[in-house]
């Protein structure tokens, strides 16, 4: 029997159904959570199944609604707040980072804050400057938060359930371009612990650390590199906080080379943290300068003509790996196969959103 494969979006939906089923304190709330589009298919049918007081819509009030879910959590509930774009959550940074993250600590451990705040990272089809920010590095900076950013359908479900069952505020980040990607997902209840990195592909020549959607690009890059006889080890850093530094350090001690592929910006971000950890704790283990493959240091342009040059792809990772190996640059790395449209998550996508 081949293992069951479902999409990342369906995995999220299963995770929700499992959590809603097991614990009457769990509820989902967010703009459009029960709407016909089902939040990119991740909540479809849940209101029908669990009722309007478990799966519900809300006003367009991100900051207030964050505080409201926090209060409900202090009073016995286990809410999941859903944002269709991470960008909208910038209205709620006080509640997320100054309140939720610090609540347990600043009240001396007397209260718990079991909330999950889910944010989708947009990309493609003109999402542009205000619908595509991937600010996971901000959240990773804040003690008291947990930050989950699964790359596979399996981890999406398992980490979502773990996040809901966790007694701390968890920022749960999903890249829009992962929703349609399928993978093996067990039925029923299981958890993937928050706080561990995943070895996505073993290798010995170079370590590629990747976050979220970039794990796919990294695996693609590793496959291409394998054809050139280069064995890349790919680490899926699905948990940004707590951060599993050990896996990174062990890998670079073995490979001696490091490329970090981030779905966000470089400056003072997670990619910097990975390089810094290696510098501090594995000094001398790198035989070549490490490389970061991140977004260029500018806002996201809307025009596909620019966005195509904005988002790094597998080819950029391959090129960075070549650099760490002292190999000559190969311009064909960045070639785009005929017919591939870089502003679409998959060929079936036709917009509008």
């Amino acid at each position: 029997m081949t293992p069951r494969e479902i999409s990342y979006a369906e995995a999220i939906r299963e995770g929700f159904a499992t959590a809603l089923e097991r614990d009457p304190r769990v509820y989902l709330i967010g703009l459009g959570v029960p709407d016909p589009k089902g939040f990119f298919g991740t909540t479809t049918g849940l209101q029908q199944r669990f009722g309007a007081d478990r799966v519900m819509d809300m006003p367009c009030s991100e900051n207030g609604m964050t505080g409201i879910v926090l209060g409900s959590a202090l009073n016995g509930m286990r809410p999941v707040l859903n944002h269709q774009r991470l960008d909208f959550a910038l209205l709620s940074m006080d509640q997320v980072c100054t309140q939720a993250a610090k609540w347990h600590y600043m009240f001396g451990g007397r209260m718990k804050m079991p909330v999950v705040i889910r944010m989708i990272i947009g990309r493609g089809w003109g999402q542009g400057p205000q619908h595509s920010q991937s600010l996971h590095s901000w959240f990773a900076h804040i003690a008291g938060l947990k930050v989950a950013m699964p790359a596979t359908a399996h981890d999406a479900k398992g980490m979502l359930i773990a996040a809901i069952e966790d007694d701390n505020p968890v920022v749960f980040l999903e890249h829009r371009w992962l929703h349609h990607v399928t993978g093996h997902v067990p039925e029923g209840h299981y958890t993937v612990p928050l706080g561990s990195a995943r070895l996505a592909r073993p290798g010995k020549d170079v370590t590629i650390v990747a976050f979220s959607y970039m794990v796919l690009e990294a695996l693609d890059a590793a496959a291409r590199l394998a054809q050139a006889g280069i064995e890349a080890e790919v680490l899926d850093y699905r948990s940004l906080r707590p951060l599993d530094a050990g896996t990174l350090l062990a890998s670079v001690r073995k490979t001696g080379r490091l490329v970090v592929a981030d779905a966000g910006w470089a400056a003072a971000g997670m990619s910097a943290e990975m390089l810094a950890l290696v510098a501090e704790h594995a000094h001398g283990s790198l035989v070549a300068a490490p490389r970061r493959v991140c977004l260029p240091d500018c806002p996201t342009p809307t025009s596909p003509a620019l966005a195509d040059h904005y988002y790094p792809r597998a080819g950029h990772i391959v090129a960075a790996v070549r650099e760490t190996l002292g190999l000559r640059a190969d311009p064909s790395d960045l070639a785009v196969s005929a017919g591939v449209e870089l502003d679409k998550p998959n060929p079936a996508f036709t917009g509008p959103f």
Partner: protein, 325 residues
């Protein structure tokens, strides 16, 4: 509408609504070609608001909008070619292709920007008015907003400050009953009105029929006089209805968040057809003029699309331009 001024205003309102409708229908028709590779939020069915407001404004007045602002931009006199080019992601676009359909700007026309974060241009528009106040000038700023934007705290913060300093700003709230697929009933209490919230901040607040361009124009004319005379900011709640899906070119009454009957009732009240009837009844409808207008519009729209599609994309080398001034 007996005077010739009235007749001319009527025809101009009619033509502006028509222009907006024709442009947006062209966008809808051509969207499937996949050359406008960005979200589009159409105002088809809501044209009376933009037209009534647009023609009441002085040319040098200022306006800002949101995700659904093609109509606002055009009504303020925004350049059609630059807008269509923007949707096509071209260097000739009003934002040089960096913005797309939800980021529109035409400085010459006084349209100072639209952004897709709900409510976020409201304080910025109030800031435009604050700038007028500080510089002792007399332009008025308009904040176009949907009714969901009143749910954002920033609307209230903006209204309070505008009221405190009696800033020359008019909040034009298009209440089309929905935020994406969410009806008002899941977002705002049934026992109070959007208007009450504005009044709570001491704004002069009026309801209006957002499908009647003449009513909108009259309300807006008064609002502008009030704001310009520094008697305080004004809030207009204009009820209207979006015909197509929240985002994209299609109709979507079948998907379940609203009924076909509701849509049809509003379609009955099509701002353009209804107004045309009124103009005809008043004897001021000018077949020839309108026919010529439509022809010219179609040509202009076709030319705008042709120009956009022929225009160069931004060069890859310019990706990092404009990050800093």
């Amino acid at each position: 509408m007996s005077s010739s001024v009235g007749a001319d205003l009527g025809l101009r309102l009619y033509e502006l609504m028509l222009r907006i409708r024709l442009v947006e229908e062209a966008i809808a028709d051509r969207y499937a070609e996949q050359r406008m590779r960005c979200p589009v939020h159409l105002s088809i069915g809501q044209e009376a608001v933009a037209a009534g407001v647009g023609l009441a404004l002085r040319a040098d007045d200022l306006a800002m909008g949101g995700h659904r602002s093609h109509a606002h931009y055009l009504a303020k006199g925004g350049d059609l070619r630059a807008m269509i080019a923007e949707m096509h992601g071209r260097e000739s676009g009003c934002c040089r292709g960096r913005g797309g359909s939800m980021h529109l700007v035409d400085l010459a026309a006084g349209f100072l920007g639209a952004v897709p974060i709900v409510g976020s241009t409201i304080p910025i528009a109030v800031g435009l008015a604050f700038g007028e106040h500080l510089q002792k000038r007399d332009r008025v700023a308009v904040a176009f907003m949907g009714e969901a934007a009143t749910e954002e705290g920033v609307f209230h913060e903006s209204a309070n400050f505008a009221s405190l300093h009696r800033l020359p700003v008019v909040f034009v709230c298009e209440n089309n009953l929905y935020s994406v697929y969410s009806p008002l009933s899941v977002r705002q209490p049934a026992h109070c009105e959007v208007l009450d919230q504005a009044r709570g901040h001491g704004l002069l607040a009026h309801p209006g029929d957002g499908n009647d361009p003449l009513a909108v124009h009259a309300l807006m004319t008064d609002a502008l006089a009030h704001a310009r005379a520094r008697r305080g900011p004004v809030f207009l709640e204009l009820k209207t209805y979006r015909w197509r899906e929240h985002c994209g070119p299609a109709f979507d009454n079948h998907i379940g968040y609203r009924t076909e009957a509701e849509f049809l009732a509003w379609k009955e009240r099509d701002p353009i057809a209804t107004f045309e009837k009124k103009l005809r009844a008043g004897g001021v409808f000018d077949e020839v003029r309108v026919a010529r207008f439509i022809e010219r519009q179609r040509a202009e729209i076709a030319a705008a699309f042709a120009a956009a599609q022929a225009a160069p994309f931004p060069a890859a080398a310019t990706l990092m331009d404009h990050v800093y001034a």
